[in-house]
């Protein structure tokens, strides 16, 4: 397996009138070609911001990237997405990396037919003429499971149901066969049965096209079924990264453990939300000086208030930002 994306020390702030929001504090992770990486964390932890910043989709100002790099590999050659020019970025978006947004209703242009919105990037990146693009768009609609694709091509977004809009959104993101697709909570706004269908669709498409997927969610239940590896984020920090089974069996960060124990059993119909841990996330108006989870952590000790923990390796492909060795039930003795 080869690395397709390598993010290092990504630090991003929003300079707003009320002060500086430290949205991302040194995010580092790799994505391997062909895998599915899930990013989980509660609302506001910076999942969307992380991925959007890679494609320059955040409004700047107020957003400003303080440091870091994001190497995107094409045939083994890295290019830094963060330093890319506007024109180069236009060639990456859609063609190399597709983006599926959370709320398909507001993410689709209300006055343009769904078909044209799919066809737009085909014309743009693949140089198709209008007729070929139309045929291709209909195929895509068909492929994402929209019945009567030929007629639906001419519809406007408001004529679609919620699930169909999300499928159309997927069709837009995969239209040019990008190597990587970012799915930003594509199922949150849908009801449970439709959610399952969309997850199935995404899995199928990934299998068929061999795409790399970054799947953002706050639903750990979905993660188990879809991801190869998981990145857990808390208040703009990457607190743990691990292969999915390892994460479920041996969570190494108190936050992850809290999340997992808050997971309801299958027969429980309440919402599987991350917010069920005691306390509230910190405000992000200051640069972190210590572990951001310390306020809520049951294992907190003096060291946690003194420094931001570095990544500690905790098994194969498993790392965590915590001074406490959960496995052995004692503070880590440092190397």
């Amino acid at each position: 397996m080869s690395t397709i994306l390598s993010v290092r020390d990504l630090t991003l702030r929003f300079h707003t009138f009320d002060g500086v929001v430290h949205a991302l504090n040194g995010i580092s992770f790799d994505v391997q070609a062909g895998e599915t990486l899930a990013i989980v964390g509660e609302s506001g932890s910076g999942k969307s911001v992380t991925m959007m910043s890679l494609l320059h989709l955040l409004p700047m100002p107020p957003a400003r990237i303080a440091r870091g790099e994001a190497l995107f590999y094409t045939n083994g050659t890295p290019t830094d997405l963060l330093k890319m020019s506007r024109a180069d970025m236009h060639r990456v978006r859609g063609a190399q990396i597709g983006y599926i947004f959370q709320d398909a209703l507001s993410a689709l242009n209300p006055v343009m037919t769904v078909g044209r919105q799919i066809g737009e990037s085909l014309v743009m990146h693949l140089g198709m003429d209008a007729e070929t693009a139309r045929k291709r768009a209909i195929d895509l609609l068909d492929d994402v499971g929209i019945p009567g694709a030929r007629a639906r091509y001419r519809n406007y977004p408001h004529q679609f149901s919620g699930g169909m809009r999300q499928r159309a959104m997927i069709a837009i993101a995969i239209a040019c066969n990008p190597r990587m697709v970012i799915a930003d909570e594509p199922t949150t706004a849908l009801d449970v049965t439709v959610q399952a269908q969309i997850v199935e669709l995404a899995k199928r498409i990934q299998r068929e096209r061999g795409m790399t997927v970054v799947w953002i969610t706050h639903d750990l239940g979905v993660v188990a079924g879809i991801a190869d590896r998981v990145l857990v984020m808390y208040a703009g920090c990457p607190v743990e990264i691990a292969p999915v089974d390892d994460l479920y069996d041996h969570p190494q960060h108190p936050y992850t453990r809290g999340l997992l124990s808050a997971l309801p059993r299958l027969d429980d119909r309440s919402r599987r939300d991350l917010a069920s841990i005691q306390g509230a996330p910190p405000d992000m108006m200051a640069s972190p000086r210590h572990c951001q989870f310390a306020w809520r952590c049951p294992y907190v000790f003096d060291r946690c208030w003194k420094a931001v923990p570095p990544y500690y390796p905790a098994g194969k492909g498993h790392a965590t930002q915590c001074f406490y060795d959960l496995e052995n039930g004692r503070p880590r003795t440092d190397a």
Partner: protein, 309 residues
């Protein structure tokens, strides 16, 4: 019809946290300082108010005093002008500067009382409309929409021509034709608060309706109303001058900016300053109020406040 103008400004504010009066004052001062255009507008407006109040003391001449020997003197900065009459004199030798200073009284009176009446009536009717709802609401809103879809200028001219020239009549015309705008804003706010389910909750714990109006609806309305009132006052000053220009506002003997324009127009090609200089006073006042209004809108709209300048 999609909502335009007044409502589209998005002026409805959420409840501001309680502040002491002094803190508010400091806060407002800081906001003025941040955006200097608001400050400039305020200063310009205060200058107009000042000249209206103290007209007899600052005007160099009696605005009605004719001096046929000095008639048609051009402004001081031209060749034939003199500093006896800095802005020149009109066809009857009346000092233009003095007439402009006195003219501000008419403009501000019309603007101030026009808006005051329109605002208080509009507020009352809007509260009734929003609270009582049902048929009353339908009838009131029918009237409001009717008036708002009339060609404003044509009707103002029409009514003014029928009712004749007097200050009171002019004020009343503007006041009554302006009520609908204030009705709409008030009603919108009442409905918004009602929809939030807050009123039912408050009523169910026994809060008096009057208390809800004074504690929750009016505080939210003050900001938007002040902003709208500023713009409406500026519009009324324009319309009053326009009516005067057509000879339909205050009697010709009263020095008002519109009347001055009407006189000057006849001499436009030979003695242009008689008409153009009073127009500058209108522009000055309009600029003052619009700068102030824009600033108020930015300050009061919480969405805009968050953007770092």
């Amino acid at each position: 019809m999609p909502e335009t103008s007044a409502d589209a400004t998005g002026l409805l504010v959420d409840e501001t946290p309680d502040r002491t009066f002094r803190q508010s004052l400091v806060y407002v001062g800081r906001l003025f300082w941040r955006d200097k255009t608001g400050l400039v507008g305020l200063i310009m407006f205060l200058m107009v108010v000042f000249s209206a109040i103290f007209a007899p003391w600052i005007a160099p001449y009696d605005p009605l005093q004719q001096d046929l020997r000095a008639a048609k003197t051009p402004p001081a900065w031209t060749e034939k002008g003199s500093f006896d009459h800095p802005l020149g004199t009109d066809n009857l030798g009346r000092d233009i500067l003095s007439r402009i200073i006195y003219g501000s009284r008419v403009s501000l009176t019309v603007g101030f009382f026009g808006v005051l009446i329109a605002c208080s009536l509009g507020l009352t009717i809007g509260l009734i409309s929003g609270y009582v709802g049902g048929r009353t609401d339908n009838i009131i809103m029918g009237g409001v929409n009717l008036i708002l879809s009339l060609p404003y200028l044509v009707f103002v001219v029409f009514i003014a021509a029928i009712l004749g020239r007097s200050l009171l009549i002019v004020i009343l015309i503007f006041a009554f034709t302006d009520i609908p705008i204030f009705v709409r804003i008030t009603r919108g706010e009442v409905l918004r608060i009602r929809e939030s389910g807050f009123v039912e909750a408050a009523l169910s714990i026994g809060a008096k309706r009057r208390r809800i109006i004074f504690r929750h609806i009016l505080p939210n309305l003050i900001g938007p109303l002040i902003t709208i009132a500023t713009f409406e006052m500026s519009a009324m000053i324009f319309y009053e001058a326009g009516l005067g220009f057509l000879g339909l506002s205050v009697p010709p003997s009263v020095p008002s900016w519109g009347n001055m324009l009407a006189v000057g127009r006849k001499y436009l090609t030979i003695y242009p300053w008689i008409a153009t200089i009073p127009g500058l006073a209108i522009v000055f006042t309009g600029l003052a109020m619009n700068l102030l209004g824009d600033w108020l809108r930015d300050v009061i709209d919480p969405r805009l406040r968050r953007v770092k300048k």
